[in-house]
Symmetry: C2
DNA sequence: GTGGTTGCAAATATTTTGCATGGCT
DNA sequence: AGCCATGCAAAATATTTGCAACCAC
């Protein structure tokens, strides 16, 4: 954890930004809740526990900064809210998501899966791929099981 | 064109919705500008040419309705705006996009490309895939060529 | 008349910005 | 002093909702 914070600190410094207490508190929240997909508001509320004086605007500014530095990815699942997702260390690409249309759960997939597809896109469309976003919509294992249960009744 | 409009009309009727003049004008705009990725505001301005009395709220309501009926897909490229994209006729899945980070152009890919990946997801994660969203970010052919030009100078 | 539909205005929600203040070097 | 960063409030954007009026059957 501290190791990743240090890394982020270095990346900030490399661009002559500072790791202020507010920024540190924000990054810590993101590290602690890595599996979640927090909105700016979510982050704000969690950061307020650590640093009660912080303002929402600062959280937005910090998240924007972290997005620029590619420390987080800004994602959007179609509700009106942007969510922020920490990049895995050393990950070349953004990871994928499985969004369940029944229960709304979001599962992450770290495997790349798209290497072949990217090659096709580069070859056939002449498009130089830098990153991707892949989200599957469907029904998660748990909801499938629940639906089978219901059918029995 | 009329054929597709008819189809949409039937789908509306099947759910006891009507194809009002406002809805028709909206659908016509979407059909005419199929290659584009229009925001609600964009659609509104275009529809106003055909039906000047229409209100923005009606456009939003129509687009929401069409999304429900799976006539259009609501997408989001990360700017704060939702865009609406007509489903290709008979398309099982949403098509993919290539977003150029240099010039902002958006190219569409109709090929499926993901069949194998979906099988993996179903098998390894027990997730029943219904649809997907895939967007590649990178540099389009034209911008790549421009960048090569510049390097020569 | 009934029920879905519309336009307008107001309300909401999310994100951005202006500006005076504060902290660090 | 100079500069980046912050908090607050106001502004800007995007979208949704309440409601009276409207239209078609």
């Amino acid at each position: 954890m501290e190791h990743r914070l240090d890394r982020i600190k270095k990346e900030l410094h490399a661009q002559s930004y500072k790791l202020t207490p507010q920024r540190e508190a924000t990054v810590r929240v993101l590290l602690e809740r890595e599996e979640d997909h927090l909105s700016a508001e979510d982050v704000y509320l969690l950061v307020k526990d650590k640093a009660p004086e912080i303002g929402l605007a600062t959280v937005y500014r910090t998240l924007e900064l972290l997005t620029e530095l590619k420390v987080v990815d800004k994602i959007n699942f179609g509700d009106g809210v942007s969510r922020y997702d920490l990049r895995k260390e050393g990950a070349k690409h953004f990871h994928h998501h499985l969004v369940c249309t029944e229960c709304g759960s979001v599962e992450e997939i770290m495997d790349d899966l798209l290497e072949e597809v990217e090659e096709i896109v580069q070859k056939d469309w002449g498009f130089l791929v830098k990153d991707h976003r892949l989200t599957f919509h469907g029904i998660c294992r748990v909801c499938q099981e629940n639906m089978e249960e219901e059918e029995k009744n």
